[in-house]
Amino acid sequence: MIKTSEIDKPLILAMMALVAIGFVMVYSTSYIMAMKRFGNEYFFIKKHLMFIALGFLLFFIAANVEYRLYKRWIYLIIFISLVSLIILTFVHSISSEAGGARRWIKLGHLTFQPSEPAKLAVVIYLAYYLAAKKDKIKTFSIGVIPPIIMSGLFMLFILKEPDFGTALTLGAITIIMMFIAGVRLRYLFSIFFAAMPIIYLMVTRVDYRMKRVLVFLDPWMDPGGAGFQLVQSLIAFGAGGIWGVGLGEGKQKLFYLPEAHTDFILSVIGEELGLIGVSALLILYLIILVSGIRISFKAADLFGQYLAIGITMLIVLQAAVNMAVVLALLPTKGLTLPFISYGGTSLIVNMTGMGILVNIWRNRET
């Protein structure tokens, strides 16, 4: 087992604090809806508690698995991730659909979201590949083509679900990791500019994405219709003020905010816990960011360094995007708030990632 001296304490405390806040807030946001839909106010929170337990289990396993082993298992990891995405896409009998998107695989009573572990798989792959090819990283054929193809393949399947937000996040993490590994800036800019028209087309060709962008540009344009969710989110923040209306006292979760317990949980935190609550969250994510980078700097090898950065990005980037969305700084994406939102797979994968970080820290250079 792990000795406390071997743990990066701020990182773990930050994670535990976020999970605890998440637990309370998922209950606060879901109990009325759970009551209404399932006649059981504990419907969501019970499942969430189970995911937290599972998350901690995987966190401990990952913290004890020598991270260098992933290099050896890399193609198995990639294979399993891709297969699960393919199953999701083509075998409809065991996948489930919600809101026009096919993002979940059903295993008995449980459902899980293959795109979440897939992100972690791609991060492990990129860390492995970029570290292995560090000498030829500045060439186009070695430094750019293979990672883009691998990443692109995953993004393609994720887009097929469709899950535009997750695909874009994956793309952004890929670019960040390549940037850190030393890929030439001009290549990165080229990729970026090449991606722009594709993104543009994908947005403008799909009605709801276009609508989301327009709503983002002016949420108050149609507050009762397309802008409803965003406007309600802003109202929630305003209602909370500095100190918040008090835990459980929020009104916006009462069907004003769709997905109050998942994607828009920050709005309810803003309403119930106020600016104080939101600031606390920002600080906790900042601690994870700084700790993750510190672990990266201390890692024993280049793979560990890249992996630490990648996992940190996975969490912090998603947190930043989610917050920016609910605050109307970015168009709506459909991403959860790491450690906080209801959503089992995301929570478990993120906690597994934290376990890997702990392991990198334990094996650090001394």
């Binding site: 960040i176 940037f179 850190i180 590994a181 030393g182 309600q232 802003l234 109202i235 929630a236 923040f237 305003g238 209602a239 909370g240 003020g241 500095i242 009104k251 916006q252 009462l254 069907f255 004003y256 803003g270 106020g274 600016l275 939101v278 600031s279 920002l282 994510y285 900042l286 960011l289 700084v290 980078i293 990266s296 700097f297 090898d301 280049l302 360094q305 950065i309 990005m313 912090v316 980037l317 930043a320 917050m323 920016a324 605050l327 109307a328 700084l329 250079e365």
Partner: protein, 661 residues
């Protein structure tokens, strides 16, 4: 191990994220601090569904805290359609109970709205019927409804409220902001589906409006109205007014207008004119009563003395293109006689002697041509021609009250200055304003506008106008046994704008006076508009003055001196004479305890109810006098029951009732 280049790039990423976090924080501050109020209002707006319900309006009391207008809590019925299971059946039941249209009700019950009124301001019995039906989705709230306990009393002064309980006339209109109460509402919390949130229940936030205490005395008001309606009926007059004032303070004790209207059914009167409190809103030519002010100016200026003689031209006196007439042909009259017999020609000549500048100045000083600020809506100031427009005829005209106009309240206020040692008081009808707890938030006190004439002049004027009610004076029918009355009659032809002069058959008969002349307690103006047949002020208005003054003085406990009469005898006489309302008997007895010349009628805070049981009427009355409470005697024999019960504290202004058997 780490190459510096990589570290540099990691730090760029770190800084980028820190910047992003700062932006997120800034945006949060913008929403939660800077734009908070705007967003909070939107949040409240969608969570709270607000229904305006009619608040409990403040009461209007007379000076003795007797209720003149009150709001009572009545039931209003509403429905929340989404909670009603069987709209058709429910509509049938409710429509039958309330005798209202079933179809209309059913469409309300099936509407998409989250809240509809079924019927507002119901009487208790009907509300109870619906309550017994016990239908889900039907709710009750208490709303205020205006009641006028004595709709026949002071209706012009009090005014009335509309269907929404907003003041439309009179004190109800003028003091709306005090009496309305804060907008009271029913608050329901809703979720996005418009459903009532189970967490929050119906909340009612309401606060009663402030109470208004008038200077009016309900009894004197009653006396004034009774006598006014009597004279208007007997003389088949178009209308009239009686105003009673306490000359030393400016408090209005009564303000009666005829014809009468019932504020409960104000909308049934064809012309809004009937609602107007003409004592303050309509100006009229005063006629001879105005000669009193000429007299005051002459004395104050030393321009004439009471025994100065003027030749009255045997009834015809031509000035420029006009000829002034007197009712009788007079030769030489002194100034006292000019007033006593009301010679227009004598007044015109006296006015001439005073000169227009001085006459004008005194008219303005007495407050004519300017609003008094009595505190009632719609007051007008009357009109006095500008000095530069005065011709030789104008002086004559104005000297006997023609060619200018005044409201009743102005005339009586100015006249009261003579009764009040020359001090012109601001007339007022609002004594105090009480908040919901009964504490005074505003208190109105007597205020002097200016000193118009000296005490000496006031005394000399009084001595002259005492003569009016003696032996062969024009106002002899205003005389009261046992008191000296100072007053003046007025008989004014009404201006007829169709012929550009004065009507030959339309008169305004008036009498203005105060009593007792040597120690004035009340000043009264009586105006009868267009009486038929007899039209002289001395014949029509003076007797009304006599009745109102006699009864009011008795009620106030002001008794004649040196006549050997006891208070009790006086009371008996007066009661027998004018038919007091029953509850006034004990009241009069209470009043006998007071100093006759004191105008401070405020009762001391009395303690608790004594035990009256088994006492005789006489004994109860004596005990009541001792503890200074007002009792109403019901029945005869021995006291068997009383309200309030022995030992209970008595509310201010509440009369005790004692039953005898």
């Amino acid at each position: 191990m780490i190459i510096p280049y990589l570290k540099f790039r990691v730090i760029i990423i770190l800084l980028s994220f820190v910047s992003i976090f700062i932006i997120i924080f800034a945006k949060t501050v913008e929403l939660q601090v800077l734009e908070r109020d705007k967003l909070k209002a939107k949040a409240d707006n969608q969570h709270l569904k607000t229904m305006n319900i009619i608040p409990m309006r403040g009461s209007i009391y007379d000076r003795e805290m007797k209720e003149l207008a009150v709001s009572m809590e009545v039931d209003s019925i509403y429905a929340q359609p989404f909670r009603i299971d069987d709209a058709g059946k429910s509509a049938n039941l409710v429509a039958a109970a309330l005798s209202i249209d079933r179809k209309e009700l059913e469409s309300k019950f099936t509407s998409k709205k989250s809240f509809v009124w079924v019927k507002r301001q119901l009487d208790f019995a009907k509300a109870e019927k619906v309550r017994k039906l016990n239908i889900q989705g039907i709710g009750f709230v208490k709303e205020g409804k205006r009641f006028y306990p004595n709709p026949q009393v002071a209706s012009h002064l009090i005014g009335f409220v509309g269907v929404d309980s907003k003041g439309l006339e009179g004190v109800e209109l003028g003091y709306e902001e005090y009496m309305a109460g804060t907008s009271s509402r029913l608050i329901r919390e809703r979720d996005a589906l418009g459903n009532e949130i189970s967490l929050g229940s119906l909340r009612q936030e309401s606060s009663k409006g402030s109470d208004i205490v008038l200077t009016i005395d309900k009894t004197i008001q009653y006396i004034a109205e009774k006598e006014l309606f009597k004279v208007v009926a007997n003389s088949q007059a178009k209308g009239g007014m009686v105003i009673v004032m306490a000359p030393r303070t400016g408090e209005i004790l009564a303000m009666a207008n005829a014809p009468h209207f019932n504020p409960d059914i104000f909308f049934e009167y064809k012309s809004p004119n009937i609602w107007r409190n003409k004592a303050t809103t309509d100006a009229f030519e005063p006629g001879s009563t105005f000669k009193v002010f000429l007299l005051a100016a002459l004395f104050e200026e030393g321009a004439a003395r009471a025994d100065d003689l003027f030749f009255c031209e045997n009834g015809h006196y031509s000035v420029a293109d006009r000829t002034f007439h007197d009712v009788k042909k007079f030769g030489w009259l002194n100034l006292t006689q000019i007033i006593k017999y009301s010679s227009n020609i004598g007044a015109a000549k006296a006015g001439d002697r005073l000169g227009k500048e001085r006459l004008y100045r005194y008219i303005k000083d007495f407050g004519f041509g300017a609003k008094t600020g009595v505190g009632l809506p719609g007051e007008v100031g009357g009109s006095v021609p500008l000095l530069k427009e005065w011709s030789k005829v104008t002086i004559g005209n104005i000297s006997f009250g023609q060619g200018m106009s005044t409201t009743g309240i102005q005339l009586l206020s100015a006249f009261s200055a003579i009764a009040n040692n020359g001090y012109l008081m601001r007339p007022y009808v609002i004594k105090r304003i009480l908040n919901g707890k009964g504490d005074a938030i505003e208190e109105f006190r007597p205020s002097v506008i200016r000193k118009v004439i000296s005490e000496e002049t006031a005394r000399r004027v009084t001595n002259v106008i005492r003569e009016v009610t003696k032996t062969d004076g024009t106002g002899v029918r205003a005389a009261i046994d046992g008191f000296e009355v100072a007053g003046k009659t007025g008989t004014a032809q009404k201006p007829d704008f169709s012929v550009g002069g004065y009507s030959s058959d339309k008169y305004v008969s008036s009498f203005i006076g105060f009593a007792p002349a040597d120690n004035p307690e009340i000043a009264i103006l009586v105006v009868v508009d267009e009486p038929s047949g007899e039209f002289y002020g001395g014949a029509i208005a003076a007797p009304v003055f006599k009745e109102v003054a006699t009864q009011s003085l008795a009620y106030l406990g002001v008794f004649p001196r040196g006549m050997g009469t006891t208070a009790q005898d006086w009371n008996t006489r007066v009661k027998g004479a004018v038919g007091y309302p029953k509850d006034r008997i004990a009241k009069s007895l209470y009043i006998t305890q007071k100093e006759p010349d004191s105008l401070d009628w405020e009762r001391k805070d009395f303690s608790h109810m004594p035990d009256f049981s088994a006492r005789t009427v006489r004994s109860v009355l004596r005990l009541a006098r001792e503890v200074q409470i007002e009792v109403r005697i019901l029945g005869s024999g021995k006291a068997v029951y009383q309200k309030p019960l022995p030992g209970e504290k008595i509310n201010h202004g509440q009369a005790a009732e004692v039953w005898f058997k």
